[in-house]
C-alpha cells in the first residue's frame, strides 16, 4: 500500500533537539503565516479541512476554536491534552517523540487564534521520558522569541507550561484534567460551565488533543495534500495505533477511507500465526467492538457511524480467536472498574455489578433474569453518568449484545434441575 506522510511528514527529517534544524525544514513558517492572518481565518482553515478532535470526542475543531476566540472573558488559555490514557492508543507519544517542535508551534498558533495568554501541556505520567524534549523545545522557542513577550513583533505575549499527569485515565477528561492541573483530585465536574467559558483556573479554556493540534502547522503551510486525501466527509489523514494480536503493531498514518482489511492485513502484517479474528475494538477501551464482518468497510467517520462504530482515539485493537468475547469484556470492565473516579453512582456502582454479571456468564451460572438486569444497567450507566467515562464504559458490552448475542444465552441444563 502507498505510504502517506502528512502529519508525520517531519518524522526523522530534523534533529529534534535543535530549533535551528527544525527551522531549516520550514519550522515556524506556519506560525509566521498565522500571525499575519486573523484568528477567524485560521479557524476557517480547520473547518474547511473538517478536522474532528482526535482525543476521542470527535468535536469539530474549527468550531471549537472560533467559539473559543469570541468568549468575552479575559485571560484565555490553551490546554494540550497529552494524557493519552485510552487503551491501545500511543500515537500522541510518537508525535511528541519524533516532532516536538511541530507541537510547540501548533500550541502557539492555537494561542494566537483564541487570544490566549498561556498554554498548558498535560503530559501522561508514564511519558516522563518525553519531558526533556518538550522542555528543550519550549526553551529554544523562548530563546527565539516564538514564546514570551511580543512574539514576532505582534505585541502578543504567550507562555507554555508543562504539567505531569496524575496517572489516572479519567484525568484525560477535560474537566478532570484541569482540576488535576489546579492541584485538586482529578474528578470530572458537571458541565456547564463549559470549558470555553470557565475552564482551567476559571479562565476561558480551549483544550485539544496532541494529534488535533499537530495537524495545524502542516495545514497552514501546505493544505493541498491533506485536502486531497481521505473521503468527502472524512478529509485528510489520521494516525492510528494498531495493536493486539497483529504481526506489526504500531502507529500508522493513513488517509481516511482505506479498508479495515488494509489496516490489519497490509499495514499491520496480519494476525499472528494466521489465526482468525475474534473481535476488533476501535477507539480504545471506551470504543465499540465488531467481528470480522466489517473488514471491508472504509475507515471513515461516516462509514463507522453507519456500522455502529466510533473512530474515537483512533486505535485498532485486534483480538484473535484465543480470547473469548466474555474474557475480553471482563478485562475491559476491569479497566473501567479501576479507572472510574467513583463520584457518581451509576458509574461507581454500575461497573462492579456489570463485572459480577460477566463473571457469572464466564462460569455459566447466569440466569435470564441476570441478562435482563445486566442489559438494564448497561443502559442506565450511559444514560445517567456524570462524565464521558461512565457514558462510554459499556460501549463494548452493548455492541457485544448485538454482534455476539450467542455468548449471553443461558444454557438450559440437560438434567432439567
Amino acid at each position: 500500500m502507498e505510504n502517506i506522510k502528512y502529519i508525520t511528514e517531519n518524522f526523522g527529517k530534523y534533529d529534534i533537539s535543535s530549533i535551528d534544524s527544525y527551522m531549516s525544514i520550514g519550522g515556524f513558517e506556519a506560525l509566521r503565516k498565522a500571525v499575519a492572518m486573523d484568528g477567524d481565518a485560521v479557524a476557517a482553515v480547520l473547518s474547511e479541512a473538517k478536522i474532528k478532535g482526535r482525543g476521542g470526542a470527535e468535536y469539530p475543531m474549527g468550531r471549537k476554536w472560533s467559539q473559543a476566540r469570541v468568549v468575552k472573558r479575559p485571560h484565555h488559555c490553551v490546554v494540550c491534552n497529552a494524557d493519552e490514557g485510552e487503551t491501545c492508543t500511543f500515537k500522541d507519544r510518537e508525535l511528541i517523540k519524533n516532532d516536538p517542535f511541530n507541537l510547540i508551534e501548533a500550541i502557539i498558533i492555537a494561542g494566537w487564534t483564541v487570544n490566549a495568554e498561556d498554554a498548558y501541556i498535560y503530559l501522561r505520567a508514564e511519558y516522563a521520558c518525553l519531558r526533556p524534549r518538550i522542555i528543550n523545545a519550549i526553551q529554544q522557542a523562548e530563546e527565539h522569541d516564538f514564546l514570551g513577550k511580543n512574539i514576532l513583533g505582534t505585541g502578543w505575549s504567550y507562555n507554555i507550561h508543562l504539567y505531569s499527569g496524575a496517572g489516572a485515565y479519567v484525568c484525560g477528561e477535560g474537566t478532570a484534567l484541569i482540576r488535576s492541573i489546579e492541584g485538586k483530585a482529578g474528578r470530572p465536574r458537571m458541565k456547564p460551565p463549559f470549558m470555553k467559558q470557565s475552564g482551567l483556573f476559571a479562565r476561558p479554556t480551549c483544550i485539544n488533543n496532541v494529534e488535533s493540534l499537530s495537524i495545524v502547522p502542516h495545514l497552514l503551510r501546505n493544505a493541498l495534500p491533506y485536502m486531497q486525501a481521505g473521503t468527502k466527509e472524512s478529509v485528510g489523514t489520521k494516525l492510528i495505533s494498531v495493536g493486539g494480536n497483529v504481526n506489526k503493531p504500531g502507529v500508522y498514518e493513513i488517509p481516511f477511507g482505506i479498508s479495515i482489511r488494509d489496516i490489519i492485513y497490509d499495514l499491520a502484517g496480519g494476525v499472528q500465526e494466521g489465526r482468525n479474528i475474534r473481535l476488533i475494538q476501535f477507539g480504545g477501551a471506551s470504543g465499540k467492538i465488531s467481528d470480522d464482518r466489517i473488514l471491508d468497510i472504509p475507515y471513515s467517520y461516516e462509514s463507522f457511524a453507519a456500522n455502529n462504530l466510533i473512530i474515537g482515539s483512533g486505535s485498532v485493537l485486534v483480538i484473535d480467536e484465543r480470547t473469548s468475547v466474555i474474557d475480553f469484556l471482563r478485562y475491559t470492565q476491569d479497566f473501567f472498574l479501576h479507572e472510574s473516579c467513583g463520584q457518581c453512582t451509576p458509574c461507581r456502582e454500575g461497573n462492579r455489578h456489570i463485572r459480577i454479571f460477566l463473571e457469572k456468564i464466564k462460569n455459566g451460572i447466569h440466569t435470564d433474569e441476570d441478562i435482563r438486569t445486566m442489559k438494564t444497567f448497561a443502559t442506565v450507566m450511559p444514560m445517567s453518568s456524570l462524565c464521558g467515562l461512565g457514558e462510554t464504559a459499556q460501549n463494548a458490552l452493548k455492541s457485544a449484545f448485538t454482534i455476539f448475542p450467542e455468548v449471553f444465552t443461558v444454557k438450559k441444563s440437560a438434567g432439567g434441575i
Binding site: A168, V170, A185, R187, M190, L337, H338, E339, S340, C341, G342, Q343, C344, T345, P346, R348, E349, G350, N351, R352, H353, I356, E369, T373, T376, F377, T379, V380, P382, M383, S384, S385, L386, E391
Partner: protein, 580 residues
C-alpha cells in the same frame, strides 16, 4: 418582573412558567412533582453526583440531571417514562446493593431519605449482588458518630463543612468503588480540624453522620429513684421542635414542649433562657470592665461551643479575646448544682442535669473538665432537639394536641433578651440593652436594635453609649468567623465587641436541629424568637427577678469574685486534638 426573564416549558405535558435560571427540579416543584434527589440540597451548590434525579428531555440523547439543568424556553421534560423509572430505580438498586440495610437499628429509621426513596420506588427484593463491606464506625468523640457503611457518597456533609464552615474536616478519598468520605489520615474527628458543630449531621440524608445518642442515659436517670432529673431547654428548641410534628416552620411550641417534658418524666422543667440572662449580665459587665480598664479587645462572645472549639483549635493565639463568661447551658448547670441545690436541700450529686440543645457541640462542652468538679460534670447529659423528638415519640405523645403547660419556678423565669440568644445577633442585642443601661443609667431608647438582625454573614454597626463609641460586629458561620479572625490576627480589626455563632442563623440553624432544617426554616425560627421577645413582659436580662435574687443572696453583684468563681471559665490552646 421583566418578561424576558421568564421561561415556558412543559413537564409531563403540563405547562409551567419559571424564572430564567430555574433548575428542572425546582420547576417540577411548582407543579407539585417531587423529582427524587439525594445529593441536591436547597442551601448548597449543585453537586450532580448521585444522578437519581435523571429525567428525560426531548431532543437529548441522554438523561439530564434535574437538579443541575437550567430550564430553557420550549423545553419538554418527562419525569415518568420507562427509561427514567429504570434509571432512577436502577440507581437506587445500585446504592442499596452497597448499603448495610439495618434500618431497624439505624438512628435515622423513620426519617431517612434513602428509606423514603426505596419505599417510593417499591424496592421489594434485591436484584443485584450485595457488595457492601464492613467498615468501622467512628465514635471517638462525645458529639459525632460516623458510620461509613451507610454513606451514599452524596457529598452534602463535605459541602457544608467546607462552604459554610470553611473547615474541610471531611472529604472524598479514593476512587471507583473505593471512594469514601473520610477525615485526613482516617482519624477520629477529635483529632482533625473538626469543631463538632454538627452541621454535617443536619444535611446527611441517611444515617451515616449522626450525633451521639444520649437519650438512653436520660431515661436511665429518670428511672433511677435516687435522682432528681432536671431539664433545661435552649431558646431555639421551642421554635424548631414543631417542624417534626407537622407544624409550620417556626411555630412557637414552648408550652407544649414543657408539657411533653413533664410527661417524659423530668422532675423540674426549667429554661436555659434563665442561664442566658445570667450570661448576658456577666458578659455585659465583662465588656464594661474590658472597656474601662483597657483590657484585651475586642471581646468576643463564648456561648457557642463550636465557636469556642474553633478558637482553641484554629486560633489558639487569640483565646484571650473570648469572654470568660460561661455559656447559658453551663452557667445554668453551675447555679443548679450549687445555689439551687442548697436552696432545695438536694445533694448536688443527686441532681441529674439534662440540657435540651439545638447543638451537638454542647455534648462536648458538657464534658469539659473545667465545667464540673472532681470528675462530676455540671451538665450530666445533653440531648438535641432531635433527641427530644425521639423521646416524645417513644412516650407516644400526641404533641400537636397537648395541653399547654408552664416552666417551673424559679429557673423557668426569663426575659425576652434571653430568648433571642438563639439567633444570630441576639446575644449582641441583649448585651447592648443591659450594657447601655449600666453605662448611662438610662434605658435604651429603642430596645429593638435592628442593625444586628438578619441573615447576612457579617453585620457591623457603631453604637454610642455614654462616652464610648462602640464598634460591634455580628458574625455567623465559621467561614465568616475566619475572615474576621484573620484580620484580628494581624491587628486589622478595630471592633470592640463581636458576637460569633458557628451555625448559619445561629442556634435556630444549629447542628442538633431537625434534619429538615434549611435556611428558609431557620429564618422563620429567627422571626419566631423575635416574636417571643416582643411579647415578653421583661426584655432586659438584668431585670430577671430570680437573677436579681441570686445576686442579692449569693453572688453579691455581677462581676464579683464569687460570680467569677461560679460563672466564668477558661480556655485552652489545642493542637488539633481534643482530649476527653
Amino acid at each position: 418582573m421583566i418578561m424576558e426573564d421568564m421561561i415556558n416549558l412543559k413537564i409531563n405535558g403540563m405547562p409551567v412558567r419559571v424564572h430564567k435560571g430555574t433548575k428542572i427540579l425546582e420547576a417540577a416543584r411548582l407543579l407539585h412533582i417531587d423529582i427524587p434527589h439525594l445529593c441536591y440540597h436547597p442551601d448548597q451548590r449543585i453537586k450532580a453526583r448521585c444522578r437519581i434525579c435523571s429525567v428525560e428531555v426531548v431532543g437529548k440523547k441522554r438523561l439530564l440531571a434535574a437538579c443541575a439543568t437550567e430550564c430553557w424556553e420550549g423545553m419538554e421534560v418527562f419525569t415518568d417514562t420507562k427509561v427514567v423509572r429504570d434509571t432512577q430505580r436502577g440507581i437506587l438498586q445500585l446504592i442499596m446493593a452497597d448499603h448495610e440495610e439495618n434500618c431497624l437499628t439505624c438512628p435515622r429509621n423513620g426519617n431517612c431519605v434513602l428509606q423514603q426513596l426505596c419505599s417510593r420506588f417499591n424496592i421489594l427484593r434485591p436484584n443485584l449482588t450485595h457488595v457492601a463491606e464492613h467498615l468501622t464506625v467512628r465514635t471517638g468523640n462525645p458529639s459525632l458518630v460516623h458510620d461509613p457503611e451507610k454513606c451514599v457518597k452524596c457529598g452534602r456533609c463535605i459541602r457544608v463543612c467546607k462552604d459554610v464552615q470553611g473547615i474541610e474536616a471531611i472529604g472524598f478519598a479514593g476512587r471507583s468503588t473505593g471512594l469514601k468520605v473520610t477525615t485526613p489520615y482516617e482519624d477520629d474527628f477529635a483529632k482533625t480540624d473538626c469543631v463538632l458543630c454538627g452541621q454535617c449531621t443536619v444535611v446527611c440524608p441517611v444515617g451515616a453522620l449522626v450525633e451521639r445518642d444520649d437519650t438512653d442515659k436520660v431515661l436511665d436517670a429518670i428511672f433511677d429513684p435516687a435522682k432528681k432529673v432536671i431539664v433545661q431547654t435552649a431558646p431555639s428548641v421551642r421554635v424548631a421542635l414543631g417542624d417534626a410534628f407537622g407544624l409550620p416552620d417556626g411555630s412557637i411550641v414552648t408550652k407544649k414542649m414543657v408539657a411533653a417534658l413533664r410527661m417524659i418524666g423530668f422532675d423540674k422543667v426549667f429554661d436555659t433562657n434563665y442561664g442566658a440572662d445570667l450570661t448576658i449580665t456577666e458578659e455585659a459587665c465583662e465588656l464594661i470592665d474590658r472597656l474601662k480598664n483597657n483590657r484585651k479587645m475586642p471581646m468576643t462572645t463564648s456561648c457557642c461551643p463550636a465557636w469556642v472549639n474553633f478558637v482553641e483549635k484554629h486560633y489558639p493565639g487569640e483565646i484571650e479575646h473570648l469572654s470568660s463568661t460561661k455559656s447559658p447551658m453551663s452557667i445554668f448547670s453551675a447555679v443548679l448544682k450549687t445555689q439551687y441545690a442548697r436552696q432545695e436541700k438536694i445533694a448536688p450529686e443527686n441532681i441529674f442535669s439534662v440540657a435540651v440543645m439545638p447543638c451537638i457541640a454542647k455534648k462536648y462542652e458538657a464534658r469539659r473538665p473545667e465545667l464540673g468538679k472532681n470528675g462530676n460534670f455540671d451538665t450530666d447529659a445533653v440531648i438535641t432537639t432531635r433527641g427530644l423528638i425521639k423521646l416524645i415519640k417513644y412516650i407516644g405523645i400526641d404533641f400537636v394536641n397537648l395541653q399547654e403547660d408552664e416552666f417551673d419556678d424559679p429557673m423557668g423565669e426569663s426575659t425576652g433578651a434571653g430568648a433571642i440568644f438563639g439567633t444570630t445577633g441576639g446575644v449582641m442585642e441583649a448585651a447592648l440593652r443591659t450594657a447601655y443601661e449600666w453605662l448611662t443609667g438610662r434605658e435604651m431608647p429603642t430596645l429593638e436594635y435592628t442593625p444586628v438582625r438578619g441573615f447576612e454573614g457579617i453585620k457591623e454597626a457603631q453604637v454610642k453609649i455614654d462616652k464610648y463609641n462602640l464598634k460591634i460586629a455580628v458574625v455567623h458561620t465559621l467561614k465568616n468567623a475566619a475572615l474576621v479572625m484573620n484580620k484580628l490576627q494581624v491587628g486589622q480589626c478595630d471592633y470592640d465587641f463581636i458576637e460569633i455563632m458557628a451555625c448559619p442563623g445561629g442556634c435556630v440553624g444549629g447542628g442538633g436541629q431537625p434534619v429538615t432544617t434549611t435556611f428558609a426554616a431557620t429564618k422563620k425560627r429567627m422571626s419566631a424568637l423575635y416574636e417571643i421577645d416582643r411579647s415578653s413582659k421583661l426584655r432586659r436580662s438584668h431585670e430577671n427577678p430570680y437573677l436579681k435574687k441570686l445576686y442579692a443572696e449569693f453572688l453579691v453583684s455581677p462581676g464579683s469574685d464569687k460570680a467569677h468563681q461560679l460563672l466564668h471559665t477558661c480556655y485552652q490552646a489545642r493542637t488539633k486534638e481534643f482530649d476527653f
